[in-house]
Symmetry: C2
Subunit: 481 residues, 2 copies
């Protein structure tokens, strides 16, 4: 009980946040003659009830959270948010099954964006809005987690990003509040800028708001089965800019606000990320120009849009890139793994892990040639502690181990090799679309079996929580305390 | 020149070894009315000439090899053996192109076993014998390298296997010679036992000798397009036993000879390997019995044979396992990566790296729960030094990085996703067959483009030399000295 009481208390707080969020589509439905208002009000009421039940046992107690409680809390929070997110989808007038609703909500809150729903343009607008809001909140949550919780927990090399805000002692509480406020403001501001740009470029206000929420959160839910394929080149380029903003460390924007000086963007991870995007866009554009007869600007636009969409793990599609020939299929599959920057809304393995692993390999090779040489590994101008290095490198082993297990589990449900492998990859990296006719950019996840959907949903949460945050709950030593 | 002279000298020695080896199929062809004797005698003569040219500049000099020279020598040795191996294939009466001959020889000497040749049963027997001999010599070479060179070079965690024989000082020369002799004897003995077993179970003498050489070396070249599919269940089970023997550390056999006590087999890597094989065979047998109506013993035989064939990276096929349903395709693809034990003839990532990575992850997770706890990682009863741990773990990052690059390169030559990915994987792990109609267990590599074959051949050598041995040659610091 000592382990669980604070966890329940925080779950209660989260429940009340969901009560408020659910009221948004509820009132929106009321205002727009949309019969789904009842589903949202009912869900909101149920969330309020659950919140009270969670908070009562701990009412009046004071506590501080320790590492074990933070692990438990983090995993449980994403689970409970997913279940609240699924509620209105089950209670609507065209209800989804429990499995489908939970899949859709997990895919939303983890900003994966794989969907079981089709004919999106015919869905009630309140449901579309709710899907977009889940991604937006999930994106905010993941930045908050990366800034405050994961560096403290030292998961997968994240201690590299330790700041004063990831110090969980009582004295740092005011700093913590200030950071949370800045983050919320920046996130709101960027989303607003994105929505206004989309609107100015010709989207309807509803589409602009929805896509702004799923762009900045690199979530990828759209309001139409054609994803972004129905919009103009101008809108695609706006999307490129805001997906990139969503894929960079939000700490940089907060620092820039506190100290408006472009020097804050001299960040090795962000710069490496942008350079890599440029190189990949150049490579794919060149390859397409050499092997097809498409117009250069069209090629550049779609190469840039789709690469940025996959590398930021947004998962929008402008065209079905798996029809661009064999090279592009292998290419996009591999780009799926990379991911954006740590401290952004992106998933994937993350740029800094590739940078650290690369620096580490170079160091290893130097040592092979000069066994007694001393080399120090520096990142962003600072020496990197050995344990950070090593846990960042070990992350890739665990990543591919989980990928293999998830692929096997999906294959055992009857999925073919390409669907199983790309489905596991797209879930683990929180990208969204897979490969093949079924779950590729032109398909959706409706036809996956129920057990397959639960495997994919669990894999999404594993990926979103940087694997170890969840894995540690499966060790005996965690429960022995 | 100081760097190259000893390298040239050792290349000369290797050339003369090849002179001797080439004389075997030459005399065999003479004795069996096979017109290919000329190709082998001519190749042998060319090798002798090259050997003289290599040795002349260093005649009369004394030298000891340093780490840089060992790296260069190791990579060059495999390259030069491949070219000597290709010579008779180009000089035969039905000559292969340079690309095809080098591909076949690289695939042989690295014990990969991917082939561009078909209608094998119609080929001259001397050519078949030469292909088998290449694999047999390659298998011996890789054990020798793993025992004596790689632990000294500290590549990819191999320092774990450091013994007195991997000490390259002058005083250890007699010990080194004794070790080399024991290894050769054990390898010969195991091959002889395998050949006799095959012969007793009904193979022709020629088939028995050839398959013994490609079984013990986990190479996988066969003398018929049907691979092992045409043999009895008894032969398949004999093959299982000797593939497993080939996939275990040969040091154990040598220790057993010096000290006949079963305790020498209490080796954590060998035991983990055998347990994993048992678990995988059990899993696949169960899955096949649950989903098909095949006979239990037939299922068990083919599951055991094909799993042992893939995990030891032999690459024989008894049936086309890609026709066993979707699960088995994903299953065999993933088993491809595992590989056998270090110090065996197997390729792949190797059991000890999974064991060390797993121990490392457990340690990391313990530290996540108890940040100030002290945990020590023990393997085979001894504490594992941090640097060994870390370089074993880092190996998997480099492995998947090279896999991604090779896949992209192959896709750029026009191969589809499954062929490119499985081709890169099967080359890097030295298994042999890939997935898909083209390069799957029922196909061969003849239709791959020339540039694709060179990419695959280079990938095989990278895999065979544990990646870093070759990669280090690509660093500027290596050449700066
Ligand atoms: K996404
Ligand atoms: K092989």
């Amino acid at each position: 009980m000592k382990l669980f009481r604070p966890v329940l208390f925080v779950s209660g707080i989260l429940s009340f946040i969901m009560v408020g969020l659910l009221l948004v589509p509820a009132f929106f439905a009321l205002m727009t003659d949309d019969e789904e208002y009842s589903a949202f009000f009912l869900s909101s009421g149920l969330a309020a009830l659950a919140g009270l039940l969670f908070m009562l046992p701990s009412y009046g107690h004071r506590f501080a959270l320790n590492a074990r409680q933070l692990y438990l809390l983090t995993s449980l929070s994403w689970l409970s948010l997913s279940f609240y997110g699924a509620l209105p989808l089950m209670l609507s007038h065209h209800p989804l099954s429990l499995t489908d609703a939970v899949f859709e909500a997990v895919s939303g809150i983890t900003t994966t964006g794989s969907t079981v729903m089709s004919s999106l343009d015919a869905l009630p607008h309140s449901i579309l809005l709710w899907r977009s809001m889940l991604q937006w909140v999930g994106g905010l949550g993941v930045i908050g987690m990366a800034v405050s919780i994961l560096p403290f927990l030292q998961v997968g090399g994240m201690r590299l990003f330790q700041t004063e805000s990831s110090d969980w002692s009582e004295k740092s509480l005011p700093r913590f509040h200030a950071m949370a406020r800045s983050l919320l403001l920046v996130y709101l501001g960027v989303t607003l800028a994105c929505a206004l740009s989309y609107f100015a470029a010709g989207m309807t206000l509803f589409d602009a708001i929805n896509h702004a929420m799923t762009t900045v959160s690199t979530g990828g839910y759209a309001t139409d089965d054609r994803s972004m394929g129905r919009f103009s080149d101008g809108i695609l380029w706006i999307s490129v800019v805001f997906m990139l903003i969503g894929g960079m460390p939000f700490m940089l924007y907060i620092r820039f606000l506190n100290q408006p000086n472009l020097d804050v963007f001299r960040d090795q991870q962000a710069q490496g990320f942008l350079l890599l995007v440029l190189a990949l866009v150049g490579l794919l554009t060149l390859q397409q120009l050499l092997t097809t007869e498409r117009q250069p600007f069209e090629v550049l636009t779609h190469a840039a849009f789709n690469i940025v969409s996959v590398i930021t793990t947004t998962g929008y599609a402008s065209t079905d890139y798996t029809l661009w020939g064999y090279f592009s299929i292998s290419f996009f599959f591999i780009v799926t793994f990379i991911g954006g920057c740590s401290g952004s809304t992106s998933g994937g393995m993350k740029i800094f892990r590739f940078q650290l692993s690369w620096l580490f390999l170079r160091d290893q090779m130097n040592k092979l040639v000069h066994p007694r040489g001393i080399f120090s590994i520096r990142f962003n101008g600072k020496a990197v502690a050995d344990d950070i290095m090593v846990s960042a490198v070990a992350f890739s082993f665990l990543f591919f181990l989980i990928l293999a297990l998830a692929t096997l589990a999906l294959a055992a449900t009857g999925l073919d090799f390409v669907t199983a492998l790309s489905g596991a990859a797209t879930a683990l990296t929180n990208v969204g679309p897979g490969l093949g006719d079924m779950i590729g950019p032109a398909g959706n996840f409706a036809a996956v079996s129920d057990i397959g959907k639960w495997i994919l949903g669990f894999t999404m949460i594993l990926g979103r929580l940087e694997l170890l945050t969840v894995m540690v709950l499966l060790t005996p030593v965690f429960w022995r305390g």
